[in-house]
Point group: C2
Chain length 332, copies 2
DNA sequence: TTGTAAGCGTTATCAA
DNA sequence: TTGATAACGCTTACAA
């Protein structure tokens, strides 16, 4: 592959001049510019990105760690990031964390060594302290999908407490008072926050919190089904279920159907995430939407801002969940 | 950030020796190795990937172009690729093609310039000739999700004709003879192939091909619904529909439901892709599965093989679709 | 406006 | 087994 030297020889100029016309940094006379362009075209010259990065100390790339590259939930974040950086001639180095701290660390180390200009991390295996440690370097780090107290100005997150509250209040407004909750994976912040929002809404409405109406899940459909099953087996009657995510909700609906109950006539169901499946379930699922693409974009903007590349005056850090009403909730 | 020079100074050895212990290429005396390791640890030294790549001409990265990073269909490919390259200390540079030739070209050029060790392309905007042109370079190129005749030994693809055949034959075996087809986007190879398979199965069963039973879609739900609507409006009765993908099938089911028809009692439906939604539709959708993760893995193996890195004796190029039976088909 | 030449941080060649 | 040192291909002072 042709080098800048080849181009300079062919165009009968110095390599410096070639570099100048390529980067448009310094004025170059029309004739030489012309000659350089011609040579570049003729040789199909493409500057070596490594040499360039070595000389400039700029990678033109941002590293991204996401829990699963192939997931309806996290894919939206990637898409958001990509949509903003592609306008800045940046690329994306992506790696999966698989929800495990050890793998997340590996991915992080890897990306660090690649000398990315910035890192965007969506981690849910690592502890807050670990995330804070990751962020404690010279390369700009942005955290997405989570709020780490030690990093107040570079976390892009959704208020999951508000989300849980929103879902529950929606049910309360429809007249429900005996509202069950299929919780997410114990120990995960998102699960905890949604549960907290659930309690807040109950409390606000003067409804006593009843542990017997809460069953543990793990964000997967099967656990959602089992949890709902166990809820049905208990003595407490309920007219609605708030599930920690859409998949759990799908499991809940399955359990209800198998118990001969009709959604929403007998029991209403609300999910969380607004993944594709919420739209396809029958009845379609009322759920809480996370604006993932927007969050990905915000993360990218924040990263670019820290690189002095995109001076967007104000980037939104905290995103609000939105209730998406479909067919799975009935008024009492 | 510390450089190899800093390490060599601290360890009182030459940079060459540092390089040697780091790469394990050449024997180094225990004492010096010890000293180097200590210095590396003390300085938290991480070799500069650019300098290394410049010197070795190896990027340790493979570029991937995929239609949409956030998609149930293509995400599986990314995951497959990642799962094999992460064992080779390689990373993934990903870019979306958005189904458009111009954007695909941009993504390709971008990745080329980044000097990736290899490229894996899943393109559906570019023509066969364009894809062949992309592959005509010194860097190894693997095409996934499509068979380009000019590149017989580096395309990882699914036999879509077989898939269309499989779906249709399944319906024929259940006693259906009046089988409608909601086609995919006109001009897209996948759509064409599935349609061909549909015709083959009919022919084999001695059923005349009837144009009035075929309606154009575009792989999206709405078009699937409209197509099925138009099918219902025609004079031809049918007892089954084979849709070019799951989303079209969802649209078809919607149209049928709105027409007061029960799936599968009145009309059976078969989809294609086995995306998450096939599982969640009610009734759940019988569909044709594409082993996307396996295809991604195969693509990565092929790329590594071309780099002399993973001498897997034989990589499977042609994948067979699998029929996944669920609840949307009834025997006549 | 242009060219010369010194980096950038590695690896690899060649002697020793 | 080790150390000098010349690449690798680009950018960027510094001079002209």
């Amino acid at each position: 592959m042709a080098t800048i030297r080849d181009v300079s020889l062919l165009a009968k100029v110095s390599t410096a001049t070639v570099s100048r016309v390529l980067n448009g940094s310094v004025p170059v006379s029309p004739e030489r510019r012309e000659a350089v362009m011609a040579a570049v075209a003729q040789l199909d010259f493409r500057p070596n990105a490594f040499a360039r990065s070595l000389a400039t100390n700029r990678a033109h790339g941002i590293g991204v760690v996401v829990s699963e590259v192939s997931s309806g939930v996290y894919g939206g974040i990637l898409q958001g990031i990509e949509s903003v950086i592609e306008g800045h001639a940046m690329h994306m180095l992506v790696s999966s964390g698989h929800h495990q701290a050890a793998i997340e660390r590996r991915a992080y180390d890897f990306l660090r060594q690649r000398r990315c200009d910035a890192l965007i991390l969506q981690l849910d295996g690592a502890s807050d302290d670990e995330v804070a440690a990751f962020a404690d370097t010279d390369v700009p780090v942005v955290v997405v999908g989570r709020s780490v107290p030690a990093l107040p100005d570079r976390c892009i997150y959704l208020d999951n407490v508000a989300g849980g509250y929103l879902a529950t209040r929606h049910l309360i407004e429809r007249g429900h008072r005996a509202i069950a909750h299929v919780a997410g994976l114990a120990g995960v912040a998102d699960a905890r926050d949604r549960h907290t929002g659930y309690r807040q809404a109950l409390e606000e409405a003067g409804i006593d919190y009843d542990e017997a109406l809460v069953a543990d899940g793990d964000f997967m459909e099967d656990a959602g089904q089992r949890a709902t099953q166990s809820l049905l087996d208990r003595e407490r009657a309920f007219t609605a279920v708030f599930a920690a995510n859409d998949q759990s909700a799908a499991g809940a609906m399955r359990a209800l159907r198998e118990a001969g109950l009709i959604v929403p006539d007998d029991v209403s169901v609300v999910g969380y995430d607004d993944t594709l499946l919420a739209h396809y379930l029958v009845p379609s699922l009322t759920t809480v939407r996370q604006p993932l693409q927007e969050m990905g974009q915000a993360a990218a903007w924040l990263a670019l801002a820290r690189l002095g590349l995109d001076a967007r005056k104000e980037v939104n850090l905290r995103f609000e969940p939105v209730l998406v009403e479909r067919e799975s909730v009935a008024a009492l």
